[in-house]
């Protein structure tokens, strides 16, 4: 079964959100437009709408995360859903309960949605294939496969600054090989019609097959940044250095770290993005991260509206006759 089948219902509406790959421009645009509506909720005195009152959303985190879990939790709470946070490495996994037994238990508690983060690629899809039919799954990051809500909040942030995707040059910089964020971004940018996507990084961190994704490969930050409108930095994991894929943080920063001088090669009004948490002085210089072209904190704010949009589109598909409970 392909991801496309799993995440769409019989009428082509999003019933899980596992990956941006294979989705239509219409669905991605619908997510962005809906998020635009939710962005106004943050300016209300009472930052809450009653849309998902009575729904139970479980944050199922098999891998530690602060920002992603917190923004999912805030998004659910602003929709008036009830939220459970489960950090699995500290609970049932250590008691020997199987994953499927745990899912059955959470279903029995009347859950409507699981937000899943796992270090294994394919975990969210596996769970989507095994839960009761009324439960929706949102992938909050699985291994090096996908992180679709991060990609959509990035698209939302880009659109707010550069409304026409079909005229953009975008560079994604860093560890493309291990990055679920980069994969989801590349699919989303392609679907939304961005004509030039570049991936920039050392040879050891760019997969051989990257060109098949419709991107241009650059091993020099200088050529990769030339005239781009959007600079998307990736977080460099420390363990890549231990795994001998990189010599040292200092040498990486010298070749691929984003400084003001290098950013000057991009278009004058280019925006700088980063999914966080940032490694200051490793992939990005502090003066750039905090500089006038940085939209990194806007990304965090936008993440709440985008996650509210995905949750309400998935849970609010109207009549669900084709999925009647067994």
């Amino acid at each position: 079964m392909t991801p496309r089948h799993v995440q769409l219902d019989g009428e082509g509406r999003l019933r899980h959100f596992i990956t941006t790959e294979g989705l239509s421009r219409q669905i991605l645009t619908e997510i962005l437009d809906t998020a635009e509506n939710f962005a106004t909720v943050g300016s209300q005195k009472i930052k809450k709408v009653p849309l998902l009152r009575g729904n139970t959303i479980v944050n199922l985190f098999f891998e530690p995360s602060t920002r992603t879990r917190t923004t999912f939790e805030l998004a659910a709470k602003r929709l008036s859903a009830d939220v459970l946070n489960l950090n699995i490495n500290t609970s049932s996994a250590s008691k020997g309960e199987s994953l499927l037994d745990m899912l059955r238990n959470l279903e029995a508690m009347g859950s409507d949605m699981f937000v899943v983060r796992h270090n294994q690629s394919g975990a969210a899809q596996f769970i989507a294939e095994h839960v009761a039919p009324h439960i929706s799954i949102i992938n909050a990051g699985d291994g090096s496969h996908a992180h679709p809500t991060q990609a959509m909040l990035d698209m939302f942030t880009i659109r707010r600054h550069k409304p026409d995707f079909t005229r953009l040059r975008v560079a994604i910089i860093g560890d493309i090989m291990h990055s679920r964020v980069a994969r989801s971004q590349i699919h989303a940018l392609n679907i939304l019609g961005v004509p030039e996507i570049r991936v920039v990084g050392p040879q050891t961190l760019i997969p051989q097959h990257a060109a098949h994704l419709g991107v241009h490969i650059h091993h020099s930050l200088e050529t990769g940044l030339k005239d781009v409108d959007v600079v998307m930095m990736l977080r460099l994991q420390r363990e890549r250095m231990e795994g001998a894929l990189l010599p040292s943080a200092e040498e990486y920063f010298a070749r691929f770290g984003l400084t003001q001088a290098k950013l000057a090669l991009a278009a004058p009004d280019a925006i700088v993005m980063h999914p966080g948490p940032i490694n200051r002085g490793v992939e990005i210089d502090s003066s750039v991260a905090d500089g006038a072209q940085s939209v990194i904190l806007e990304q965090v704010t936008n993440g709440i509206a985008v996650r509210m949009a995905v949750m309400s589109l998935v849970l609010g598909r109207g009549p669900r006759s084709e999925e009647a409970a067994p």
């Binding site: 509506n37 106004t40 709408v49 849309l51 309400s312 609010g316 009549p319």
Partner: protein
């Protein structure tokens, strides 16, 4: 379907009634808020006829509806915009058709999430039969007695016209 009907006489009646009601309640600077989409068109007309100086607000009540699980999302509607503080202010809420009362219930809830207004008046172009909640308009362009299968629809923004449609 009935012939499209011009609403200008109804708007003029509403403006006169609203002006009198505001004077009677001694409300000087009301904030006007239209409910998307038709209510905003009516509000725009009233806002200009009453020469109000505060900007016009608009509400998209999608997130406050009580039938979300039955009809789902409609993301194509423009977001709400209340470009002022509602705290302690007098609000004139405007919609095109008052039917069941559910839209107004949702709109009131949304307004209160922005703050606590001093008062809310309701002005609707049409008040038709079929109430399901205890909601009445303070200012009405016209009252229509319609059967369950009949619908009154406002098209706009220019020209603003009313038609009555029947379920077939």
């Amino acid at each position: 379907m009935s012939e499209p009907r011009d609403v200008q006489p109804l708007l003029e009646k509403m403006a006169a009634d609203l002006r009198a009601l505001l004077a009677q309640r001694k409300i000087q600077q009301p904030l006007m808020v239209g409910i998307r989409t038709g209510g905003v068109w009516v509000a725009e007309a009233l806002h200009s006829m009453l020469e109000l100086t505060e900007p016009l607000g608009s509400l998209n009540i999608t997130f406050y509806r009580d039938d979300f699980t039955r009809i789902g999302m409609h993301p194509q509607v423009q977001p709400s915009s209340l470009p002022f503080e509602v705290e302690d202010r007098h609000i004139v809420l405007v919609d095109d058709v008052l039917h069941t009362g559910r839209t107004i219930r949702a709109a009131l809830n949304e307004i209160f999430d922005y703050g606590r207004p001093a008062s809310v008046l309701l002005a609707t172009l049409i008040e038709r039969s079929g109430k399901e909640l205890p909601v009445c308009a303070d200012v009405v362009g016209e009252t229509l007695d319609l059967a369950t299968g009949q619908h009154v629809k406002l098209s706009g923004p220019a020209p603003l016209q009313l038609t009555i449609q029947e379920d077939t």
